[in-house]
């Protein structure tokens, strides 16, 4: 434990990377455990509809509308 602590506190950069890594790991694990939906960027209103999970469908619709 002491060795890990020494390694993390070796420089400001290792500390930053470790902090960010632990933060992201916790966010991802919590997301997986709570089954948070992995949504992608989507826009939807009565004029425009875009969903980044389905780019092909967007292109097909755009070509059809031309």
């Amino acid at each position: 434990m002491e060795r890990i602590k020494r390694m993390v506190l070796r420089s400001r950069h290792t500390l930053l990377v470790t902090s960010i890594f632990m933060f992201i790991a916790l966010v991802v694990v919590e997301g997986k455990v709570m089954e948070r939906e992995s949504r992608l960027f989507s826009l939807e209103n009565r004029f425009f509809e875009f969903n980044a999970t389905n780019i092909e469908e967007f292109e097909v619709r755009r070509n059809r509308d031309r």
């Binding site: 930053l16 991802v28 948070r36």
Partner: protein
């Protein structure tokens, strides 16, 4: 190194308020004064017949209404104050652990019997408990003015539902709710506070760019490498104001002990610990 002495803590808070009085004391006071002048001007400009109509409509609307119904119209008054508070808090947090490294005063502060954790915690308490108190007080001054103005109008136009004490209690309750909303917002956004403090303690220059750029890069990298968007989803789930705007004290207690807030506190705590340890590395 990272021990906390609660006896010294009020002194640290005083130091923070002394160093940031323009951000947290002058800004809400000036805003309150400006809005008072604008309201006074509007109050003088409106013709008497329109005033009478407004008061009679309010009287009819609020006749027999509960205190909560009277509180809600007062709440929007706090919106400009909350915007200023968020803006000032953001500027404060970006510079909180950066400027004392830049001007070298960190060496003086570290020679004092104050741990790095205490210093970082004093900044968090300032932004999440003390600054909202001043903001609520400043919005309270405005609320009090409106209560007085409405009471004077109500007496002059014989509106019975708009009694002074009823309006005053509703106004004061709204100020309390504004304060609790600001505190809840700070707790809800605690991971963001931790993130900004971490980069404020890390960056040798441009901490704002590091904090924003770092997060945007991570969003992009997660999507690019893993094809997932857990970080983006998580950000989206915490961004909405509906998560921390409250209309009753019980609402505050419910949200205070909600799962989402507690997990946010753990995540923020992780980043704050990183920021406290980062203070070991002086430039």
């Amino acid at each position: 190194m990272n021990k906390i002495s609660w006896n010294r803590f009020p002194v640290l808070l005083k130091r923070e308020m002394w160093e940031s009085k323009k951000l947290f004391i002058a800004s809400p006071m000036v805003l309150s004064l400006l809005l008072l002048i604008v309201l006074l001007w509007v109050f003088i400009q409106i013709p008497a017949d329109i005033k009478e109509e407004v008061i009679s409509n309010m009287d009819a609307l609020l006749d027999g209404a509960s205190t909560l119904a009277l509180v809600v119209p007062f709440m929007p008054l706090a919106i400009p104050f909350m915007i200023v508070l968020y803006f000032c808090s953001f500027i404060y947090l970006v510079n909180a652990l950066y400027y004392d490294r830049k001007d070298g005063s960190i060496l003086f502060w570290q020679s004092m019997p104050v741990s790095n954790l205490e210093t970082v915690l004093s900044k968090i308490v300032t932004v999440s408990v003390v600054a909202p108190l001043i903001t609520a007080a400043a919005s309270g001054v405005l609320t009090l003015f409106i209560v007085l103005a409405l009471s004077v109008l109500a007496v002059s136009f014989n509106a019975e539902a708009l009694g002074f004490l009823t309006l005053l209690s509703a106004g004061l309750y709204s100020v309390l709710l504004v304060y609790l909303t600001a505190v809840l917002a700070a707790l809800w956004l605690f991971p963001a506070i931790g993130w900004i403090l971490l980069f404020s303690a890390y960056a040798r220059s441009l901490p704002l760019l590091w904090a924003l750029g770092g997060f945007i890069s991570l969003l992009f990298l997660e999507d690019f490498i893993f094809g997932s968007q857990f970080l983006g989803n998580w950000l989206q789930s915490r961004a909405g104001g509906q998560n921390y705007i409250i209309f009753s004290v019980s609402d505050f207690i419910d949200r205070l002990f909600s799962y989402d807030l507690l997990i946010g506190l753990i995540l923020g705590g992780l980043l704050v610990t990183g920021a406290a340890y980062m203070r070991r590395f002086n430039d």
